[in-house]
């Protein structure tokens, strides 16, 4: 509801991964491959990105041992990726995009195309860049404890509702 579709997060993601030098180098000298993508439908504008599943379909589909869970985050080591696209096909969210790298080359000189997806800015000290640059704070990092807390809050709310309903019923009976 908070996302206004401005896509600042997409550039933030590239800058966080490619580094600040891209603002000086030749405009075609770096790879612009955001790891999330803002989708606009009739009902919603929102970035779609990897959910870091607990039993990732992409990891199961990968035959090149390139996808692993590294302390809770699903990481693709692109240097091992052979571009077989199985992970992209397996991901039900379409969170994995095949991208062609500008400089990297295969053994036979052909350009490399690898699987590209959110890595939660694994190596960034301040955590996910998209979250930091979003003007309306629409993005939120859901850690395990947050999940727990959210569930707890919802259950308390449910209990509250139930109590309220019960009290009303009593009142009705009483009146």
């Amino acid at each position: 509801m908070l996302c206004i579709g401005c896509r600042t997060c997409m550039i933030g993601c590239v800058v966080a991964h490619e580094g600040k030098h891209i603002f000086e180098v030749d405009p075609d000298g770096y790879d612009f491959h955001p790891k999330l993508k803002v989708i606009k439908t009739f009902n919603v504008s929102v970035p779609v990105q990897c959910k870091h599943c607990e039993a990732p379909a992409c990891m199961a589909a990968c035959k090149s041992d390139a996808i692993h869970i590294v302390n809770g985050t699903v990481i693709i080591r692109t240097e091992k990726c052979i571009g077989c696209k199985s992970c992209a096909e397996a991901c039900p969210f379409g969170a994995i995009q095949m991208v062609t790298l500008g400089s990297a080359r295969n053994a036979d000189g052909a350009p490399r195309s690898v699987a590209n997806k959110c890595d939660l800015c694994q190596d960034q000290p301040k955590g996910p860049a998209c979250l930091r640059v979003c003007p309306t704070a629409a993005l939120r990092l859901v850690k395990e404890e947050d999940l727990g807390q959210t569930l707890k809050n919802k259950r308390l709310a449910t209990l509250g509702l139930a109590l309220g309903a019960e009290a009303q019923k009593q009142a009705a009976i009483g009146a």
Binding site: P27, F42, S45
Partner: protein, 568 residues
């Protein structure tokens, strides 16, 4: 804007009319979203389902070109159902009776068919606006860029006056001005009819004050507007009124004026054209002399933001190349013409400005230096006067009698409606990642990566289906005045029969299509409405190659050593 940007989130109801915050001012859109979070009601009137519409409580998806019908109908309901703030009208306004006479004709049922909004919705919206307690109107180019623009602005103002939504926190009416210093250019009197501080050139007392200050006899005849220059160069019968020289600073009419074919012709025919800018642009192709100036971050300056806030922009780096500051260049030329006008720095100029303008008196350099943002009027130089957040406090208005004036007007349709040959309506809209003519954002690496030539034309999926168009396909968009090539973007956010094109592109230059029909008073062109036709391009390979070649040619014209090695 009569109120401050930060007040937007405190409004009880936001009446967003013809303004797409998400694409034009993401930070203002942020305030709209926060207002929603704080429980505000939002009514969004826009022919497209823009982001604000998505979170609005009511989205009046009106047919393009019917703004005044809707505004007058809302006023009609407010009067009819007795929702006016009679006390405020009685004390702070004039002309209410004539206003009621005109408005009587605009019943919701009468306008429903043409605006494509049901009478019930119009009634409900009017009630919500009138009864919210703190209603704030935000409007943008969706109101201003029409043949009938000023009347609609007055219509919206009428709504605010009749419901007393003025002179209090988080109310009023706000044109969210587009560019970073468009408010400043007006404040500084870069207008044909006013000196700095909106002091009219036709009032003898004011003219004498400036004559004394500048030591020269001043002309009492208002000048012509930018949009009339092509007329005065090409078609002006009276030789005395013809324009022969065009000194352009920081503008690119050859890209941002409507009906570019006519603009190009006028630049060719005008005897002497000067371009003073930081980047080569389309106008530069016709300039007789190029004067390179310093860009933002290469000089100190004061900008006025959209809610009348003066703020400092500071010099960060030394400029590259043999360039001078704008006012330095003008000073040199003025001196060479026998009228020295030399300044050492911007503070000296700024002090001269605030001495001449009572409303800006208090916005001293000392205050601004402390990163303050002073919204004029700020009349006293004392520390405590940090400007005025909202105007018309206690119902005081700028008219001589201190009262607001009701100004009713009759609706006029746009000049060029859809027809047999051009069956779709066409409107220009903004691309969030780029800005105006794109000489700045178009040369930023990541902004270019996100979105690049030839831009997109948003169309209803049904229309795309009929024309056999798929997402991303290059298409030719044609109007009576010209054509351009862009990519097709089918989206349900657009109604059938309407098309919307982002205007920042040089290849997908939608101003080749727009019509020069000007608002009689503001002289703003009718960018938001003309008729067009979209044609499928069978040979996509040719089209893609054509776009690439066109892009290279533009870069060559702009002086870039392209692979082709040719530089203008």
């Amino acid at each position: 804007m009569s109120m401050g940007v930060h007040e937007i989130e405190d409004a009880a109801l936001l009446f967003v009319f013809g303004y797409n915050g998400a694409d034009s001012h993401p930070i203002v859109a942020r305030r709209i979203v926060r207002a929603k979070q704080k429980g505000a009601k939002i009514i969004c009137c826009d022919p497209r389902r823009i982001e604000t519409a998505r979170i609005a409580d009511m989205h009046l998806q009106l047919k393009g070109g019917t703004n005044l019908l809707l505004v007058n109908a809302l006023a009609n309901v407010i009067i009819e159902e007795g929702l006016c703030d009679d006390d405020f009208i009685e004390k702070h306004s004039t002309g209410f009776e004539e206003f009621k006479e005109v408005i009587k004709k605009y019943t919701p049922e009468g306008v429903a068919e043409r605006t494509e909004i049901s009478a019930g919705e119009i009634r409900k919206a009017a009630r919500m606006y009138a009864q919210s307690g703190r209603s704030m109107i935000l409007y943008g180019m969706g109101v201003c860029q029409f043949g009938q623009a000023v009347d609609v602005v007055k219509g919206l103002a009428n709504l605010a006056i009749m419901t007393g939504n003025f002179g209090r926190p988080a109310v009023g009416i706000g044109p969210v001005r587009g560019q970073n210093n468009v408010q400043g250019a007006c404040d500084m009197g870069a207008l044909p009819n006013v000196y700095p501080g909106y002091q009219s050139v036709t009032v003898p007392a004011i003219r004498e004050k400036f004559e004394k200050a500048w030591g020269v006899k001043l002309s009492d005849q208002p000048g012509i507007t930018l949009t009339n220059v092509p007329h005065h160069v090409l078609h002006e019968p009276d030789p005395k009124k013809r324009i022969h020289a065009y000194y352009i600073m920081g503008e690119d009419p050859a890209q941002s004026d409507p009906d570019l074919a006519e603009v190009r012709e006028s630049l060719e025919k005008c005897d002497f054209v000067i371009l003073q800018d930081i980047y080569m642009n389309k106008t530069g192709q016709y300039a007789d002399v190029i004067l390179p100036a310093t860009g933002w971050c290469e000089h100190d300056a004061v900008y006025s933001c959209c809610d009348r806030g003066f703020q400092k922009a500071r010099k960060l780096i030394e400029p590259t190349g043999d360039v001078k500051r704008d006012w330095e260049i003008i000073g040199l030329i003025s001196k060479a013409m026998g009228r020295p006008m030399e300044y050492t720095n911007t503070v000296q100029i700024w002090n001269e400005v605030i001495d001449l303008c009572p409303g800006f008196m208090g916005a001293t350099d000392e205050k601004l230096e402390k990163n303050a943002c002073i919204q004029w009027p700020c009349r006293s130089k004392e520390e405590h006067d940090m400007g005025t957040v909202f105007l018309h406090k206690d119902g005081k208005f700028a008219h001589p009698d201190g009262k607001a004036k009701f100004a009713p007007s009759e609706w006029r349709p746009p000049q060029e409606l859809e027809n047999e040959e051009y069956p779709l309506s066409f409107s220009t809209v903004r691309e969030v990642g780029h800005y105006s003519v794109r000489t700045m954002s178009g040369n930023c690496r990541t902004l270019r990566n996100l979105e690049d030539e030839p831009g997109w034309i948003q169309m209803n999926p049904e229309d795309c289906g009929e024309l056999g168009l798929r997402h991303g396909e290059l298409v030719k968009v044609r109007s009576k005045r010209g054509y351009c090539i862009t990519r097709c973007l089918p989206t349900e956010r657009v109604k059938k029969g309407a098309t919307y094109m982002t205007y920042q592109w040089w290849i997908g230059a939608c101003n080749e299509l727009t019509i020069g029909n000007l608002d009689p008073i503001s002289k703003t062109p009718e960018y938001k409405y003309c008729a067009c036709r979209v044609e499928k391009i069978e040979d996509q390979a040719w089209a893609e190659k054509h776009v690439r070649e066109e892009y290279e040619e533009i870069r060559a014209n702009m002086g870039i050593q392209t692979k082709g090695g040719r530089a203008a």
